[in-house]
Amino acid sequence: MSLSVKHLLGIKDLTPGDIDLILRTADQFKDVLQRPIKKVPTLRDTTIVNLFYENSTRTRISFELAEKRLSADTINFAASGSSVSKGETLIDTVHNILSMKVDMVVMRHSASGAPHFLSRHINASIVNAGDGINEHPTQALLDAFSIRERLGGLEGKKVALLGDIMHSRVALSNIYLLTKMGAEVTVCGPPTLIPKHIEKLGVRVSYNVRETLAWCDVANVLRIQLERQNKPLFSTLREYSLYYGVNKALLDSLNKEIVIMHPGPINRGVELNSDVADSKQSIILDQVQNGVAVRMAVLYLLAGKKEEALS
């Protein structure tokens, strides 16, 4: 059994069987991470480069830790401080790195489609760690893993994605994944932050946070991405927080307990209040913990794939 793809560019390309295989493999890696010795020798002859053209805390540390737990050799590359500032192109940079016998590329880039473009020019397996406003597949996988862990499964579960749907690669990857696995999805936010025709992807659209929270089992609260908003899409952060922010008083008025998620980094007091983010309803830190196991599963399954293609 193995994945149907050579690269993890997006959830869009995966089959439900692929997603299930990744999550089941991640179960075993999560178990490895609970042991006194949290490391297995599986990828000891594999070298992986983490190519980050955009800032990251969690994803980058999580990938690096996943690689180290698998005994792979890792190289970290940040665009700032590299020859990118001298004008080297993406393909040139990657070809130069790969010529030093690197087997896999983990890449984050601010341009949507950058990893897809790269996959047409190199042989190494690519893992997309977030490309512009397109996809962030490993985030969606770890979100699914965390929902499955808390609620026992994905099928038939009601998941709300709240906030900046327009600029969120996490939202798009989550929509693809959850609909493929039979969950129901509602996206909710101000009309200016919800793309037109998004219901074509099989999701419901709501502009009312309270109604959406009352409907769902899980609310994945997304970050307001001011850095990607080139024009004003709402008046002030204060107004956004007033109408679309999630706080304890709102959750307490629902008469049911829903699970709160956030991909991080949190804008505390904007999309999510501290009294919710740090409550026991929140599984935000579980998400981060699960991220390592899920990324180990992705790297393991793709590294196996690479050799299959050769033989």
């Binding site: 059994m1 193995s2 295989l21 089941r24 493999t25 179960d27 075993q28 178990d31 490895v32 042991r35 006194p36 010795i37 490391k39 297995v40 020798p41 599986t42 990828l43 002859d45 594999t46 698998l70 393991y300 399954l301 590294a303 196996g304 794939k305 050799e307 299959e308 033989s311």
Partner: protein, 176 residues
């Protein structure tokens, strides 16, 4: 296809293996059983049950070990192995470990198993119990301590242990 063991022979052999373990470990105060995933656990389940029946009241720690992430053929094997559950809820530090698998062939699975075991502590000793020993086919210097049956076979043949829990009958067969 040649039958090597029928249900009755299998049962008698498992009983003998359990008694041999008992002979060497007496009250099992420092001994733990570890079955190897995926197919070794049917044997280890039965041995564990048998020992519990022979030593009522003794609590024998029993775990399951998956060696997928420790294989030495990750980059050469054509198929990707799907990991099974590892369930060892105790430390192996200073314990006498009995490693249990159904068929011993090249010895590579056991080597991976030894590697994996060390991640759970440093055992005082490790013994190997197998139902079938395909002798003269070892690729590594690994020998069993307890053997159900020794079989002479060539590389093109396959020895398969069938279990009622999984394959609807108890039998050991050799496939050409």
């Amino acid at each position: 296809m040649k039958s090597l063991f029928n249900q009755q022979q299998l049962q008698i052999t498992i009983e003998r293996l359990a008694h041999q373990l008992l002979e060497n470990h007496l009250d099992f105060s420092d001994t733990v059983l570890i079955g190897l995933q995926p197919r070794g656990i049917y044997l280890s389940d039965r041995i564990h049950r048998k020992l519990n029946a022979l030593l009522p009241g003794a609590h024998i720690p029993y775990g399951k070990l998956d060696i997928t992430f420790y294989r030495d053929d990750f980059n050469t094997s054509s198929e990707l192995h799907v990991a099974q559950e590892t369930d060892i809820s105790f430390s192996l530090e200073n314990k006498k470990v009995v490693l249990i698998d159904d068929v011993l062939y090249t010895g590579r699975t056991i080597r991976s198993g030894l590697d994996a075991l060390l991640d759970f502590g440093r055992p005082e000793s490790v013994e190997l119990l197998v139902l079938i020993d395909r002798r003269f086919s070892r690729e590594l210097p690994i020998q069993p301590d307890y053997v159900g049956m020794t079989v002479d076979s060539v590389a093109t043949q396959k020895v398969r242990v069938l279990w009622k829990e999984k394959d609807e009958k108890d039998e050991v067969v050799m496939l050409d």
